[in-house]
Structure formats: structure tokens, C-alpha cells
Symmetry: C3
Subunit: 345 residues, 3 copies
Amino acid sequence: MSFRLGELAELVGGRVEGDPDRRVESVRTLENAGPEDLSFVTNPKYRRQAAQSRAGALLTASPIAGLDKDFLLADEPYYALARLMGVLYPRERLTPGVHSTAMVEDGSEVDAEAYIGPYAVVRAGAEIGAGAELHSHVVVGRGCVVGRDSVLYASVVLYPGSIVGERCILHAGVVVGSDGFGYAVHEGNHVKLEHGGRVVIEDDVEIGSNSTVDRALLGETRIGAGSKIDNLVQVAHNVRLGQGCLLVSQSGVAGSSRLGDGVVLAGQAGVAGHLRLGDGVQVVAKTAVFKSVDAGHTVAGIPAVDVGAWRRQQALVGRLNEMKKRLESLEARAAATDTEDEGDG
Amino acid sequence: MSFRLGELAELVGGRVEGDPDRRVESVRTLENAGPEDLSFVTNPKYRRQAAQSRAGALLTASPIAGLDKDFLLADEPYYALARLMGVLYPRERLTPGVHSTAMVEDGSEVDAEAYIGPYAVVRAGAEIGAGAELHSHVVVGRGCVVGRDSVLYASVVLYPGSIVGERCILHAGVVVGSDGFGYAVHEGNHVKLEHGGRVVIEDDVEIGSNSTVDRALLGETRIGAGSKIDNLVQVAHNVRLGQGCLLVSQSGVAGSSRLGDGVVLAGQAGVAGHLRLGDGVQVVAKTAVFKSVDAGHTVAGIPAVDVGAWRRQQALVGRLNEMKKRLESLEARAAATDTEDEGDG
Amino acid sequence: MSFRLGELAELVGGRVEGDPDRRVESVRTLENAGPEDLSFVTNPKYRRQAAQSRAGALLTASPIAGLDKDFLLADEPYYALARLMGVLYPRERLTPGVHSTAMVEDGSEVDAEAYIGPYAVVRAGAEIGAGAELHSHVVVGRGCVVGRDSVLYASVVLYPGSIVGERCILHAGVVVGSDGFGYAVHEGNHVKLEHGGRVVIEDDVEIGSNSTVDRALLGETRIGAGSKIDNLVQVAHNVRLGQGCLLVSQSGVAGSSRLGDGVVLAGQAGVAGHLRLGDGVQVVAKTAVFKSVDAGHTVAGIPAVDVGAWRRQQALVGRLNEMKKRLESLEARAAATDTEDEGDG
């Protein structure tokens, strides 16, 4: 690639401070960029690192004083970076068609503009929309729907009846629609509850590699539009995620819990079953949520409490030794007073 | 579907209080059920929700006063629900036979009543029992055994020598028999220990999507009969689970630990290596078990302690600020006494 | 198998104390070994168990007094065991060649000494080295490299451009090179950052079943030579692991963090993003690392602190009830003094 800086500014809706004719060969990290490269500072805390970068040009919100570089300025520099990445690294679109080794059953509907890769399996009653891509070894069960322009990477498995919206991305190894973990105890045995529900994934959802979403016992497990799920995340039966939720890697949501819109679970966080997390709730990494949380709150800890309370608790736990010593000092003083009193007596 | 309520009562061994001729179109959640539907209250804490449900009929342990509904009563309502689900949503059984694209090696034994799906691989020396189902892309390594009526969903991988009992269900992406994580350090390098053992999964075990069970270094990793394992669970080399254990999603058991019968690991719990958990031990979600636990105990916390102790600890941690203030108050008082004493002097 | 004990001693560079002509039929655990078997005590804490073992011979560092057994002595007994396992359970090497059902695209380079299994997919521009093995359903994307003697077990997926060194082992279901979890928020939506980087896995790396390694946004996600990664581990975009790291099951490293050489993450530990962990850092199981850690330190807790401090904290938390009582006792005493004072007044 080779672009004029001014040209990139136009592509991302930004403006140049410096030389708009500067050639940009590549976008690189601050550490790896050279004079021919554009780098970026989307978080002010990396400004110091920017000063040490050899990058010829910087994408940032405002010029950084004292740096002899050209700037590509954008009000939302991280969003500008996203637009730039889309231009420089456009996702490869596969040529539509059904690979000769794929197994598409009669009674399924595969749009002529869809791509069905090697050894993929599309069962009867499934519908695959225009522009959808099913990579190698994908399995789409009976009665599933994969919406327009959705991409299922290698080895994704959709159990029967699963619904995937438009423009979704399911990374390799994702499993959608397996049975929820539900058993009735009878005479000491665990008797399986057959699951009659399904999974619905709304539009613009991305799910990371090897994550799992279980079908509902009855009704639906539902992932709201625009939600993004990282790798190795568990979404249990009957869970409902609102729109625009973020579930970071190795987090999990237990059965029947409901997350509002814009809820964020940081890495390795867990939400117990049958809870409600209101809109905009944020859960700190490694937190265990055992109670419902009202909208707008941020929680942390095991069990989860308000993040402010958690920080104060942690600080106090860190001062426990000091408290113990102060307690001992008071006790010693009291003992001394006793002795004095006895001496007085 | 359409059933008489009385007919459903017979199917699940219950009885009707109200109109046995009421037509039931479907089973739905309290929230989604309408007048034509049966819903259920298997936990008394949902009785209030039941009052707001539009369900025409309710499966429950005892009639709920003041509700104008027909009741299907069962002593074990959750078990009755399980039986009902089995009737209403029977698992689809696939027509026996080997799919034309499957690769079944010479020297394997596949029962005529087994189903081998598209692109499945069955290696020499493997045995597949009657009624077993191997879905698309399943791999059964050399010398493996899959017992009668066991189902391996898409992309399950059995490494060579793995044994799966009868009536087991392995969900998509499960890996059984990969090498355990064992290395000897020599001159600063980690030297792999080749694993000569295997995995044995006893009868009636279910394992959730993308979970992993490693082979033993020597001997066996063993999952006891009737144990149920959720999604994304790790069972390390040489682990032994007793009968009827429950391992909830994202929990893990490290090498060589032994769990008795009926042990429950809640979500994201972990058990360190070389421990013993007695029969009936319960481990609260997110707990880290670093020591063996005697039969019948419930443990929580990091590190795990008895759940009662953990609750008291957590309550005390929540009161640390109050304790600090009381300590300060005593100190202030002591300082005042000092001043008084000095004033006296 | 049947070996003379003296012969085994030679194979592992050890020596016999006892009868070098003793026949060894198998290597078994202390519990399972019989008089014909060799067992091992690589950790002194199992010496008591050794006394109860029926094993005829024991591999250990030094003779155990009072045991009527023959000894195979080695300075590094665990390393000797690793060598022994390699002899007794050598990894099966598959006959080179491309399986008739595999799909190897034109424009890829597959060494004549490589094995490409059933239904495997090798895309254009990929290179597969001599002695490499791609098991069933493996997908190697465009432009990937798999080095000499590396083994990719069933259903491993390499996204385009991924590099795997020599003598690596990737267990079933591993996904390498999926997009990192990166979005820019714009007008309330999460806009995907297309990822232009790649994953580089250096030589002698082993990765456990269903683990995931994401590609970098720009540049590389890199796994240093000799590092070993267990099952269900997450390595996020732009992460760099040094040489000889150990990441135990269900641990995870968030984006852009850098681990030095020989870093150990125990099970279910997590490292937040943009951190640095120096050489030799050890992270206790279930720990959440929120700050960078200097070389050589061992950390524990949520949030992580030095392991010594964590142990003291935990001990103090366990004594909180006692502290509370002591505080109450001082308060009662103070109140009594008040009363006395009042009585005096």
C-alpha cells in the first residue's frame, strides 16, 4: 500500500496538521513504526511512548506538542483507526458457490450469492442468505437460518433450529444450540431435561473462537443485536443479552439470567443464574455476580459489590496487619493500666 | 401438539386438580405461556410470578391458593417436567447407516444399527455400538470404543484408545484423550512426558460443548457413571470423578485429583491437583480448592474454606470500615486519657 | 514390553541399586503397580505411599530405606521418567502422504514427507514441512506455514497467515489467528477493528485442546519457543509470550500484555491487558493480575499482590472474627471505665 496522508484523512473523516503529501506505506504500532509509517495514539496515556516512536505520522485526537511529526487528527481517533483498518485490511470475501466437497441436503435453501466451503454440511430446511460464508467443516443443522453476509468460520456448529442474523461473525469452533445443563434429580440419578427451545442471534453479533451458546429449555436463548462475545465464553440456556453487550474472554452467564443493553462482562467474570443485570452494568474482570444489579452500576469482587465498596474493602484488607498492631497496642495499654490499677490498690 | 391435561398427568405419574379435559397446546415458561399452555412452578420462590402468568394450567407440587388455573400435581414436579419434556421433545434418532462421505477404516467394527455421519472418521480397531450416533466430522481414533446409544455431536474428537460407555452424550467440539499437561524440567527446558494412559467415560455421562478430558500419564482418567459435565470444562490427566458428579460450566479439575460420588463443582470453580474431594462435596461458584475436602462439606472462597466460615469472613470484610472506625474511636479515647493524665500530672 | 531394569537404567542415564536383571513388564502408578512393574517417586512427599506400593522396582532420586525393592536411581527422576515414557510410549508417526479425501489447493507446498489426513484443508500459499502431520479436518489457511515435525491434531484451525514453528504440537480444536476482540465505540455502536496482524508460534511449543490464540491488530501475537499452553487457554491479540512459559488450563492473557521468559500462569489465572510480567514471574491459580509484575516475583490474589503478602492477608482475614471480639472486649472495658468514672463523679 502507499497512500498520501491527506487521502487517509479524507477516508476517515479527519484532517492533517503538517504535510498532507507525506507518503504512508503502512500502519504500525508506535514501537514498530518507521518514518514511512502512520501510527496512532488513541489513549492519552501513550503520549510519552509516542515521543519515542520513529513513526512519521500519528493519528491522534489533537497534536502532541514538541513532536516533529505530521498528524492525522480525528475527533474519535479510535473510530478513525477502525475505519482505516477496514480500508487497509478489508476482509477477504470468498467467491460465492458451493464447494464440490460440501454436503448440502435437499430441502435446504442456499442463496446463489452464498459461499459454502469444503466439507461443510447444510441440513434440510436450513436457509443460507446472500453473501453468507460457511467456511470448511461448518455444520448448519435442520431448520437453521444464517442471515445475509454472516460469516461462519471453520468448524462452527449450529444445532438444529438455531437462528443467526445478518452481518454476524462466528469464529472457528463456536457451538450454538447445544443442550442446556439441566437435570432433575430422581432416586439419586440426574435425569436429563430434553431442551425444546432454540438460540436466536440477532444482527451484527460477533462471537469468538470456541465460545458456546446453549439452546433454551423452552423458548429462546437470545443474543441482542450488536453484542460482541470474545473467545471461550459460555452463554447458558435461556439467557438473554440485550443490545450492544460485550462479553470478554472466558466470562460466563448461567441459566436464565438477563442482561440489559450495553452490559459489559470483563475477562473471566461470571454471572450466576436467574439474575437481572440492568442496562449499562459493568462487571470487573474475575468478578462473581451472585445478585441482580441495577442499571448503570459497576460491580467487582467475589461476591460482587459496588466497585467503590470493593476498592475500599481491598484497601482495608491490605491494612489489616496495621489494624491488628493498633489493636495490640491498645490491649497492651489496657493491660498496663490494669497493672497500674493493681499497683494503686 | 395437543394433549388433555389428564393424559399428561398419566404420562408423568401425576394427578389433576381442576379440569382433566383441558387442552394443552404447548409447555411454556410462566412469562410466555397463554391460556392454552401448561407452565410449571418447580421452585416455591416463583409462586408470585405464577400468579401473573397467563398459563391455563400449572405443573407444581401442590395447588397454589387463589389462582384460577388447573393444576397438574406431582410429588417431584421438576422430575415430572423432565419426563414431560422427553415426551414432547423426544430426541431425534437418526436413521442407522454410514454416510457415503464418512471414512470408516478397515478393521473397525461399526454396528449395523449405528449412524455414522458426513465426513466422520472411524479408525481401525474402533468399535461403535448399536444405536450410537456419530455426527458430522466426528473423529474416533484407533482402538476407541463408543457404547450403545451414545451420541457424539459434530466435531467431537476421541484420541486413540478412549472408551465411551453406553447412553453417553458428548456435545459438539468435545475433545477426549488429548495429552495431559506434563513436563520435566531439564537444563531449563520443558521435556514432554508422553502419555501412555487413556480416558474411560462410564455409562450415562453427558459432556458439554468444547469441554476437554485429558488422557492419563499411566492408567486412566475416569468419569464415573451418570456424571454430567457442562460446557468449557477441563478435566486433567489422571483425574477420577465418582458417579453422579456435576461439573458446571468453566470449572476445572487439575491433574490426579479424585472426586467422590455426587460431587458438585459450580461454575468457574477450580480444584488443584492431587487432592481428594469426598462424596457429596459441593464447591461454590468461582471457588479455588487448594486442599482436600472431607465428604459432605460445602466449600467456598479463594482459597476454599467451609462455606459457613466463608460467609462469616465475607460479612466481616464488609464491616472492616466500621471496625476501623471503632478502633480509631478507642485510640482517640486513649489519647484523651493520656492528655487528661498529663493534665493531672 | 519387557525390559531388564539395568537396560532401562541405561536408557535414562540412571543406575540400579538392587538386581539389574529384574524383569520390568510395565510402568505403573504406585497404586496400580505390581511386582513385575516399575513405579516412581519423583516427589519426596510420596515416599510414604511408596512403602505401600506393590511395585517391584522404583525410579527415584535416592534409595528409600526399609523398602524391599530394586531401585532405578537418577539425579533428575522426573526427567528420567520423561525419557522412559518416550521409549515406552513413543508417539505414533503417521505414514507420509496426502489422504485421498484431503483438499490441498494448488499453490500450496506440502513436503513429500508430510502427512495430510482425511478431510483436511490446505489453502493456497500454505507451506507444510517435512514430517509434519495434519490430522483429520485440520484447516490451514492461505499463506500459513507449518514447520518440520509439527503435529496438528483433529480440527485445528489456522487462520490465514499464521506461522507455526518446528516440532510444535497443537491439540484438537485449537484455533490460531482468529480476530482479536477490538471495537471502537461510535454513536453507541461497536465498530469492528479489522485485524491486519498475524500469529507466530515459535519452535517446540505445545498448545492444549480447544485453546485460542488471536491474531494481532497490527504486527504479531507471538508465542515464544518452548512455551507450553494447556487446554482452554486464551491468548489475546498482540500478546507476546517469552520462551519457556507455562500457561495452565483455563488461564488467559488479555490484549497486548507481554510475558517474559519462563513465566508461569497457574490454572484459571488471568492477566489484564497492556501489562508486563518480567522473566520468571509466577502467578498462583485463580489470580487476577491487574498491574505489571517485576521479574522473579510470585503473585496471588484478586487483585494480585506478592504471594507472601497475600498469604498474610488471607491469614488475617481468617482471624477477623477474633479481632472483632478483641475490639468488643476493649470497648466493653472502656464503657465500664466510663461507668466507674460516672460512679466516681
